[in-house]
C-alpha cells in the first residue's frame, strides 16, 4: 500500500483514535518505524486528541495499583512495599490468612450505578477457587434498588450459637456489616448508599463466623471464612 499523504493523514488519525485495528494497525506501526513523516502525523493527533483525555473525571486509583507497579519493577523490594498495601486496610493480611482454603464462594452481583438518564446495570461476579466444586452462596441483585438476594447453595448451617455475617470490605477503613445471613435459605440484604459505594470501589466481600445474632462490636470478631473479589462479567 502506498504511503500517500492523504492515506497517512487518515490512517494516523484512526491509529490514534483506536479505530484502526488488526493487521492494518500492525502495518501502520511498521510505517511509523520507517518514516519520520508518519510519526509526526501520529504525534499531531496524539496532541490534538490528547486534549480530550483531560475531560474525563479524575479518580484516585486504589493503593494496590502503586504497590503492584513497585512489585513488578523491583521484585527484590517486595517486602518493603508491603506497608503501603497494609495501610489500605488493617485487617486484610489477617483476613487472608484466616480465610479457609477449603471453601468456594461464588457470587454474582448486579450493581445499579446511579445515572440521571440511563439505568446501566453492571453485572459482576466472583469466584474463590478451592477444593470443593459447589458454590456455597449465590448473590444477585433484585429489582432496581440496592437489594441483594443471597441464595444458599451448599453452605451448611453455622455451628450452634453462631451465625454467618456478611461484610463489605472497603478499600480503606473498617468493614461494613451487611448483617447476618442464613444457611439453607434465601435471604435479602439491603445495601445502604455507603455500603454500595464501598463495594463498587473495593469489589470485595467477606463472610465471618460470629456469635448468634451477629458481631456485638460492629466489626468482625470471629474467624473470616471467605473473602471474595468481584469481577465484572
Amino acid at each position: 500500500m502506498r504511503k500517500s499523504p492523504e492515506r497517512v493523514e487518515i490512517l494516523a488519525a484512526e491509529y490514534v483514535l483506536g479505530s484502526l485495528k488488526g493487521p492494518a494497525r500492525l502495518r501502520f506501526e511498521g510505517w511509523m518505524m520507517e518514516s519520520g513523516r508518519v510519526r509526526q502525523e501520529v504525534w499531531f493527533w496524539e496532541q490534538q486528541l490528547g486534549a480530550l483525555s483531560t475531560a474525563a473525571p479524575a479518580e484516585t486509583p486504589p493503593p494496590r495499583v502503586w504497590s503492584d507497579i513497585q512489585r513488578r519493577l523491583w521484585p527484590e523490594q517486595a517486602t518493603t512495599t508491603l506497608p503501603d498495601s497494609a495501610k489500605a486496610g488493617w485487617f486484610w493480611p489477617g483476613w487472608s490468612l484466616m480465610a479457609t482454603a477449603a471453601a468456594v464462594l461464588f457470587a454474582v452481583l448486579l450493581l445499579q450505578q446511579p445515572s440521571p438518564d440511563v439505568e446501566r446495570p453492571l453485572l459482576a461476579g466472583a469466584i474463590i477457587k478451592a477444593d470443593i466444586g459447589d458454590p456455597l452462596w449465590l448473590l444477585s441483585e433484585t429489582g432496581r434498588g440496592n437489594l441483594l438476594k443471597l441464595r444458599s447453595v451448599a453452605a451448611g448451617s453455622a455451628e450452634s450459637g453462631k451465625d454467618y455475617e456478611l461484610w463489605v470490605v472497603p478499600e480503606d477503613g473498617e468493614p461494613l456489616s451487611l448483617g447476618v445471613i442464613p444457611a439453607g435459605d434465601t435471604h435479602q440484604v439491603a445495601l445502604s448508599g455507603e455500603a454500595q459505594s464501598s463495594l463498587t470501589r473495593s469489589r470485595t466481600l467477606a463472610i465471618s463466623l460470629e456469635p448468634a445474632g451477629g458481631s456485638p462490636t460492629g466489626s468482625p470478631t470471629g474467624p473470616i471464612l471467605h473473602v471474595t473479589r468481584l469481577y465484572e462479567l
Binding site: Q47, A51, S53, A56, E59, I69
Partner: protein, 185 residues
C-alpha cells in the same frame, strides 16, 4: 475528588529524573498524574480491574521509556495519557471486553443522538479542541468521541448508533478530516 491540578514544568522535571532511573521522582510522578490517568482508563474500559491493570502497564512503560519523551510528543501529561489510552485499548482488545450497549441505549440514541456519551464530556471535549468539534455533524462528532472515550469499535458504533458499519467508518474518517482542516487553520 482527587487533586487533579498538574504543573507541566514539574512533570517535565520529574520525567527527566525518571529517565535517569530516579525511583523517588517516579513515585512523585505517579502521585501527580495517577488520578487523571485512572479516570481516563476507567472511563475508557468501563471496567475497574482492567483499568487498574492498564495503569500498571502504563507506568511500567513510562519507567522504561521516559527517556524517549520529547516536546514533539506534546506536553508531558498528554504523552503519559496517550500511553495510558493505548495500553487500555490493548487490554480491551486482548480481553475482547464488550461495551454495554443494550436496547435502552439504542432507543436513547435514536431519540436524542445523545447515547452513552454524557454531555459533560461532549462539551468539555469541544472546548479542548477549540471549538473544532462543533464543525462536525452530530453523528461524526459522537462517533469520534465514543471511539475516543469508550474505545468503541466500528461494529460497536454501528450497533449503538443503529447504522451500517460502512456508514460509521465514513462518519469517522470524514469527521477526522474536518477536524484536521479546522485545527490547521
Amino acid at each position: 475528588m482527587a487533586s487533579v491540578e498538574v504543573n507541566q514544568d514539574e512533570l517535565m522535571r520529574l520525567l527527566r529524573s525518571v529517565a535517569r532511573k530516579d525511583r523517588q521522582a517516579f513515585q512523585q510522578l505517579y502521585s501527580q498524574v495517577a488520578a487523571r490517568m485512572f479516570g481516563l482508563c476507567v472511563k475508557l474500559a468501563n471496567h475497574r480491574e482492567l483499568a487498574e491493570e492498564a495503569m500498571q502497564e502504563s507506568f511500567i512503560q513510562i519507567w522504561h521509556h521516559a527517556g524517549e519523551y520529547h516536546r514533539d510528543r506534546g506536553a508531558p501529561l498528554a504523552w503519559m495519557m496517550t500511553i495510558a489510552r493505548y495500553r487500555t485499548l490493548d487490554l480491551m482488545r486482548a480481553r475482547k471486553v464488550r461495551q454495554t450497549a443494550g436496547d435502552e441505549h439504542l432507543e436513547q440514541v435514536e431519540d436524542k443522538r445523545g447515547g452513552p456519551l454524557d454531555d459533560s464530556l461532549r462539551t468539555s471535549g469541544s472546548a479542548q479542541l477549540t471549538g473544532c468539534l462543533d464543525e462536525l455533524s452530530d453523528v461524526q462528532r459522537d462517533s469520534i468521541l465514543l471511539a475516543y472515550y469508550r474505545g468503541f469499535t466500528h461494529d460497536e458504533l454501528s450497533e449503538t448508533l443503529n447504522s451500517p458499519v460502512g456508514t460509521v467508518k465514513s462518519w469517522i474518517r470524514r469527521g477526522l478530516m474536518v477536524l484536521k482542516r479546522c485545527l490547521e487553520r
